[in-house]
Symmetry: C2
Subunit: 217 residues, 2 copies
C-alpha cells in the first residue's frame, strides 16, 4: 500500500518507519521539501521511503496518516489539498495538545475534536481516529506493554474503519483489541483521555503503558 | 466513623448503604429534611442510618462524601456550611455531567474541575477526588469486574488521601490498585475520563467495567 505520513516529528517518523518495514511505500510529508528530519528519516528508512511536501505526499498515496500536532493538523491537510484526500482513508492519530505557560492544555476540547474538525473540513475524506491514546512506540509495537490492552477506532465510514483495523493488525493489535466507538464524534472522548495519560506518564516515569478495559460481561 | 453522604441519588444511596453495612454511621444529606428517597433509604439501611439537611449531615460527621451531581456540588456544600467542613476530609466522587439537548456535556472541563472548585471554595476542607471514574455499583464492589482494575485519588492533603485510600480498602480496593495522581489539579484528568466512559457504556451495554493500566515497568 502507498501511505502518506504527514508530520516529521517522532510520531510521523516512527509510524512511517514501521510502515516501510512492513513492506509499504511511504512518503513522509512536511511543510517544505527540504525538511532535514524528513531527509534523514528517508535516508535511514530505505528504498520504499521518500519525502515531499504535504501535497506531494498526499497526491502519491492511497492512505493519509495525519501525524501533525493536533492544532496544526487542519492547516497541514489544507496544504495537502482537498483533491488529494478525496475518497481516501485519513487516519488521524493527533492530539490537540499545546503547552501554555508550562501547562499542558487541550484545544479543541469537549464540544469539538481534531477528528471532527478534519471530517467537517474534508467531507469527502474518510476520517478515522485511532492510536492517539498511546505513545508512538506503543502504536507500532503493542507488545512493549504486557496484557490485553486496547486501542480505539471511530469514524463515520465503516469500510475505512475496517481498513484501519487491518493496519492496526499489521502493527500487532489483534482485531479483538480494537474497540470501535462508533462515529467520528467519539474523537472527543479519545482526545480527552490525554490529560489522564499525561498524569500517568508523570506518575510512572515512562510512556510504555496503556489501558485495558476489564468488563464483567 | 461518622460519615455524611451528600446527595440522595443512586450514587449517594449506594455509598451510604455500603458505609452502614461496613459498620459506620451515616447521615444522608439532602436539600430538604423530608426528602422521600432519603427517608426510604434510612428505613431500609438500618439503625446506623439517618437523614438530615446538608448542614445537619455535615455537622454530625467526621468525613463528608460529595455524591451530589457535579454542577450542583458547590451549592450543596455551601448549604452544608464552611464551618462544618473545616479540617474535614471531603471525598468528592462527582462528575460535572449534564444532558443538554439530549447530549452528554461536561462543565467545568479542561481548565477547571469540580474537585478544584470545591477546594478553592473551602480552602480549609481537605478535598480528595476519587471513585468518579466508575459506576457506583463498582465503587463499593470492585469484584463485580474481573482483573486488577484501578481507581485514582488526588488531593493536596496527603493524610486525607491516606484516609480515603483506607476507605477504598474497606470497599474492596487493595492499596496497590489505588493510583495517586498527586494534587487536586488532577481532578481535571479524571473528570475528563467521563466521555470515554459513556461511549464505552453504550458500546458494552452495561456499566460493569473499568480500566486497568498495564505497564512495561
Amino acid at each position: 500500500m502507498r501511505y502518506a505520513v504527514l508530520g516529521t516529528g517522532e510520531v510521523g517518523r516512527t509510524l512511517g518507519g514501521e510502515l516501510v518495514r512492513l513492506g509499504h511505500s511511504v512518503v513522509l510529508g512536511s511543510r517544505t521539501k527540504d525538511n532535514p528530519a524528513a531527509l534523514e528519516w528517508a535516508r535511514q528508512a530505505g528504498a520504499r521511503a521518500s519525502t515531499g511536501t504535504f501535497a506531494e505526499a498526499a497526491a502519491a498515496s492511497e492512505v493519509i496518516v495525519n501525524a501533525v500536532a493536533g492544532r496544526a493538523s487542519l492547516k497541514a491537510l489544507q496544504a495537502a489539498g482537498a483533491a488529494h484526500l478525496d475518497g481516501k482513508v485519513v487516519l488521524d492519530v493527533s492530539n490537540p495538545l499545546a503547552f501554555e505557560d508550562g501547562e499542558a492544555r487541550l484545544s479543541p476540547v469537549e464540544s469539538d475534536s481534531v477528528g471532527e474538525q478534519i471530517q467537517r473540513a474534508f467531507p469527502r475524506a474518510r476520517v478515522v481516529k485511532s492510536l492517539n491514546t498511546v505513545n508512538c512506540q506503543v502504536m507500532v509495537d503493542p507488545a512493549r506493554v504486557p496484557g490485553g490492552h486496547q486501542v480505539f477506532v471511530c469514524g463515520d465510514d465503516e469500510d475505512a474503519k475496517g481498513r484501519v483495523t487491518e493496519l492496526l493488525g499489521e502493527f500487532g493489535w489483534p482485531a479483538d483489541r480494537v474497540i470501535d466507538l462508533g462515529g467520528i464524534r467519539a474523537a472527543r472522548s479519545v482526545e480527552m483521555w490525554l490529560p489522564l495519560w499525561l498524569d500517568l506518564m508523570r506518575r510512572f516515569g515512562h510512556a510504555d503503558f496503556n489501558l485495558e478495559l476489564r468488563r464483567a460481561r
